[in-house]
Amino acid sequence: MPLKKKNTGHRLSRKLKSKKETVIVYKTTVAAEETLFPGKVKKMNDIMSRMEKQSN
């Protein structure tokens, strides 16, 4: 019985650890979507959107 409890705790700790890792991955993804050149990206979006609208 004590052994079972120990194992459950270990699994819980691993679960928490993997949850923590998930949060870190999410943060990295958000950071990657930020750009050092927001003005240029906006310009690209504007031009591409207008070209797309014209072709429809």
Partner: protein
Amino acid sequence: MNQRPYPFTRFADQYTFISVGKRSITKMVEFSTGMHNGIFNLGFGDLQPDGTIDDMANSNNGDIIKVLSTVVEIIIDFTDTNSKSRIFFTGSTLSRISLYSRIIKMYYPEFKKHFVIKGIVENNGKFSEIDFDADILNGYVGFIVDKINYI
């Protein structure tokens, strides 16, 4: 281009290299996605001491060919891992766009070995994509680069 490119490092979609001319300047190239799938903006600028990027800088470091050669290598590297991606780039000002047109014209024989270059023009408020014409240096609002994938 005859000049060997500078060695560069890549972290995700950001690349850095050091231009060694009159001074040592850290250059950054970033590919960022926007609202449209498969097209990336190519941002290029000098890393400032405060960590920001200056994409208006005229560094005049005496190594423009080497720097351009490095940017071309970076585009090749990026499109190797994103083979169907299109690369969009533009200048911060009309004169900067015109400078890019002159640079493309100058190195067009080399560029076209690797890429198909399109110019984006605006006519009566309408944008269209045309083949880059080395005889037209003004009038572009941006450029799109497609890598030629040799089989």
